[in-house]
Symmetry: C2
Subunit: 209 residues, 2 copies
Amino acid sequence: MKLYDCATAPSPRRVRIFLAEKRLTVPTVQVDLRNGEQFTPTFRALNPACTVPVLELDDGATITDILSICRYFEELYPDPSLIGQSPEERALIGSWLSRIDWDGFYGAMDAFRNSTPGLKARALPGPEPYEQIPALAERGRARVQHFFAWVDARLAENEFICGPKFTIADISGMVAIDFAGWARLTPPEHMAHLRRWHAAVSARPSSKA
Amino acid sequence: MKLYDCATAPSPRRVRIFLAEKRLTVPTVQVDLRNGEQFTPTFRALNPACTVPVLELDDGATITDILSICRYFEELYPDPSLIGQSPEERALIGSWLSRIDWDGFYGAMDAFRNSTPGLKARALPGPEPYEQIPALAERGRARVQHFFAWVDARLAENEFICGPKFTIADISGMVAIDFAGWARLTPPEHMAHLRRWHAAVSARPSSKA
C-alpha cells in the first residue's frame, strides 16, 4: 500500500498522527499541492477529487476519505484503540468527530481559503475553480469561535474530547485548531480547558508526524 | 432506544431508509423543525447542535451523526450488509459516502438554505443564526451539477454507486438528489445512467420510509 500525503497540509496530518499513535509506518508519496500536482492527469486518475490523503491498496483500490483511511487501519491494527472498542463507543466518537469537522475543520477551511490572496479561485479543495466569497470567510471565523467554545466547555469536564481516553477526536480537534491558526484564529486566553488540552495533545510525539 | 426524527427532512430520511432496508423498526419521536422545536431547551439538552437525527440509547447516550447511527445498526444487525463486509469494502464505501456528502449533500444544502426566503438567518443547521449568502447558493448549485455529472459517469459502468451491490452510498446519493430538488435542481435529461439508477432506487419500498 501507499499513502499519498503532503507534509504541510492539515488533512493528511490527521492520518499521519493516527498512524504515529498506532506506531505504524506506511510507504508515503509526497504530493506537491503548492505547485498543483494534485491537478495532474496522473493524480486525477488516482483521485478525481484532487485531494490528499489517498491510501492506495495493493490491488489499486483507493481510499480517499480521511476517516475511512483511519478506520481501515484501526480494523487491521486494533491496538491501541483510537476509534472505540464497542459499537456504542464507535458511534459516540463518530458523533464528536462529525461535530469537529462541521464547525472546526469546515469553519477553519472557509476562513482560510476565502481570505488568502494566494488561493483565489481555490475556495474549495478539488478540481473546480470556485471563487472566494468574503462573507464565507467571515462566517468561517464565527464558526471557529463557536467550535473553540464548545470544545472548551467539553474539556472542562473531560480530560479528552470523548472522555478519559485519547481518541481520534483529539487528533481531529488538535489539527482543526492548528489549521484555524492559518487564518489567525487562536483560542482565547480565558479558555483554560481548551488550552490545557491543546498543550497536552501537542506535546505527544505523534503531533510532529 | 429512541430515534429523534423529522418525517419531512432529508438528513433523518437517510437513517429511515437504512432502517427500512434492514427491516428494523425503532421507536421514533417526531421533532417539529418547522416550528423550531430543535431550539427548545429540552432538545438542546439532547443535542446541542440542534439537528436530527439523534439516536438516544437506553443509558441516555446520544448519537448525533447520521453515518454513526447507521454504522451502529450495521454492527448490531449485519444482515443485509449495507456498509461493507470487509475493512477494504467499508473503506471504499466510506470514501464514496464522503464524496456524496461533499458535493451532493453540502451543495444542495448551500443552494437551498441560502436562497429560500423562509430560511433567512438559517443558512446552516444548528443554533447559530448565520445569514444567507447569495454567492453561496450559486456555488451550491454549481457543486450539485458536478455531483450529478460524476455520479452519472460512475453509474455508466456500475449498477450501483459502489458497484454491483446496493449500499448506504445509494441511500445517501438518492437523498442528496431529492434534496437538490428542493432547490429546483434536477439531473439533466441526457444523464441516462443517473436517471436509470435514481428511478431504480426510488422504486425500492425503503425509499418511502
